[in-house]
């Protein structure tokens, strides 16, 4: 609470959050709801029924032009050449050192039309980086963040709630696929994506339509006890699903290989920013790697806490009491030799050495894949 409230940006849904009694916090320069009825209750709603999130703070860049594909192949690590129209993939933008500028989603909307979705707090930095790379490509790059509000409807009942509100054929949208249609008469990109490890949709809509849609979805979900959910539950949900969070598990000091995100890096696709550094790192071998762990002793291992394992020191990047598992879980960069499943180590919990064990991730996986 050190930033003056006046300096914080607000989403089009700010008034609704206040009306719903949300506790607001500064997140990446945005005044965002962290919780409404309670983090664990909202978390359970998403796992068992559905939750509705405002994630309008996320940044959106529009990319168009004959050189769009070549530009994105250079800018990002995943293989955009394999991305079909109507599909989305997770990717990364790297520095020349191979470390993260940011992680992002890439949407292919047409032959030469793409939408990039980046982290709110990184938007200006990402745009500057992308603009630099765009020089020399036949491409128009535009920061359209102000033109998109983003609602995330997540949970096993999400489809049931959304279906009566749209003409779109929801069952036909594959995981990491999207259609451009309408929701309750408003234009929307309806995307089967999310940051919770649960089924659900993300809806990119005009900021002017966002408040009405948010209320209508809340109303439509009342029968199944849909809850508005804040960034607190978003964090516990994404961590159970082992989805990385920039500023915690990844940043410009670590590479995707160290972050256990090697699958978003397609070395065979040709040149991209950071490729040489990653090739070198592959050759030399990793010194550390991000590993999932559970605490064997009581407590919560939080970001920045030091770890001690057989081969040396490490650091916790995220840690929560997992509402679904009833255990204390987290992610930590550990010396590579100490990252095998079952390896025990200790975390310094403010002076107390708590025992921890490397476990399989994701910590939570929904029962049926779709």
């Amino acid at each position: 609470m050190t930033t003056a409230a006046a300096a914080l940006k607000r989403t089009p849904l700010y008034d609704i959050h206040r009306e719903l009694g949300a506790k607001m916090v500064d997140f990446g320069g945005w005044e965002m709801p962290v919780e409404y009825s309670g983090i664990r209750e909202e978390h359970r709603a998403v796992r068992e029924r559905a939750g509705l999130f405002d994630v309008s703070h996320m940044g959106e860049f529009e990319v168009e032009g004959k050189g769009a594909l070549a530009f994105l192949q250079k800018l990002t690590t995943n293989d955009v050449g394999k991305l079909a129209i109507g599909r989305v993939h997770y990717s990364a933008m790297l520095t020349p050192r191979g470390t993260f500028v940011d992680d992002l989603l890439v949407y292919r909307r047409g032959e030469d039309r793409y939408l990039l979705v980046v982290n709110a707090g990184n938007t200006p930095k990402d745009f500057a980086h992308a603009r630099e790379i765009a020089k020399g490509y036949d491409v128009r790059l535009r920061d359209a963040s102000d033109e998109y509000a983003l609602l995330a409807l997540q949970g096993p009942k999400a489809e049931e709630i959304l279906a009566p509100m749209t003409e779109a054929d929801l069952p036909a949208i594959p995981y990491y696929g999207f259609v451009e249609g309408t929701v309750s008469g408003a234009r929307a990109i309806i995307s089967r994506t999310g940051y919770t490890g649960e089924k659900g949709f993300e809806l990119y809509v005009d900021p002017a339509d966002a408040p009405r849609l948010f209320r209508e979805i809340l109303d439509a979900g009342r029968a199944i006890d849909l809850l508005p959910a804040g960034l607190g539950a978003r964090d516990t949900l994404r961590l159970e699903a082992k989805m990385a969070l920039y500023g915690h598990d990844i940043d410009d000091t670590v590479t995707p290989l160290e972050a256990d995100l090697g699958w978003v890096v397609k070395m065979g696709k040709g040149d991209f920013e950071g490729r040489e550094a990653l090739a070198r790192q592959k050759e030399q071998g990793l010194a550390k790697k991000l590993a999932g762990f559970e605490l064997l002793d009581r407590g919560i291992a939080r970001q920045g806490y030091a770890t001690a394992s057989a081969s040396g020191a490490g650091v916790v990047t995220s840690g929560i009491p997992s509402p679904t598992l009833g255990k204390s879980i987290g992610l930590a960069y550990l010396p590579i030799a100490d990252t095998a499943i079952g390896t025990e180590f200790t975390v310094d919990l403010r002076g107390r050495a708590a025992r921890a064990r490397v476990v399989e991730t994701p910590f939570y996986k929904r029962e049926r894949a779709s």
Partner: protein, 130 residues
């Protein structure tokens, strides 16, 4: 929000109830609201001696960890084991079942602490600054 009249309050949002030479310490309703759902509590063992203003434990919500400070000096005579087991008590009844520790007072000087009206004003001023 409640500010019981029979308690003394610290600027770090603990309350203390003095009963003879025994002081019961907890966190205020305002503090538990600010923290959100409390999921973990770490308290000292019986026999520990604290000066006033010393850290005696931690309280954690899903999002944050906060230190607890004793508003008064004394020796720990009792710890609320039930609250350690189920810290939701701090959210549900911060002035009752959610008490934290009892101290045998080494001095009954509470002149550094606020009364209910003073604390209510303090909380109001603090939230206006944000």
């Amino acid at each position: 929000m409640k500010f019981p009249d029979d308690l003394h309050y610290s600027k770090s949002h603990e309350w203390v109830r003095i009963d003879g030479d025994v002081a019961t310490v907890g966190i205020t309703e305002h503090a538990q609201k600010e923290l959100g759902e409390i999921v973990y509590l770490e308290l000292p063992e019986v026999g520990h001696v604290f000066d006033s203003g010393q850290e005696f434990g931690t309280v954690e919500s899903v999002k944050a960890v906060s230190e607890l400070f004793t508003p008064v000096a004394g020796e720990v005579t009792e710890v609320n084991a039930q609250a350690v087991e189920d810290p939701a008590a701090l959210n549900e009844d911060s002035y009752g079942d959610g008490w934290l520790i009892k101290l045998k007072l080494s001095t009954d000087d509470v002149s550094d602490l606020m009364d209910a009206a003073g604390y209510e004003k303090y909380v109001k001023e603090e939230s206006e600054e944000h």
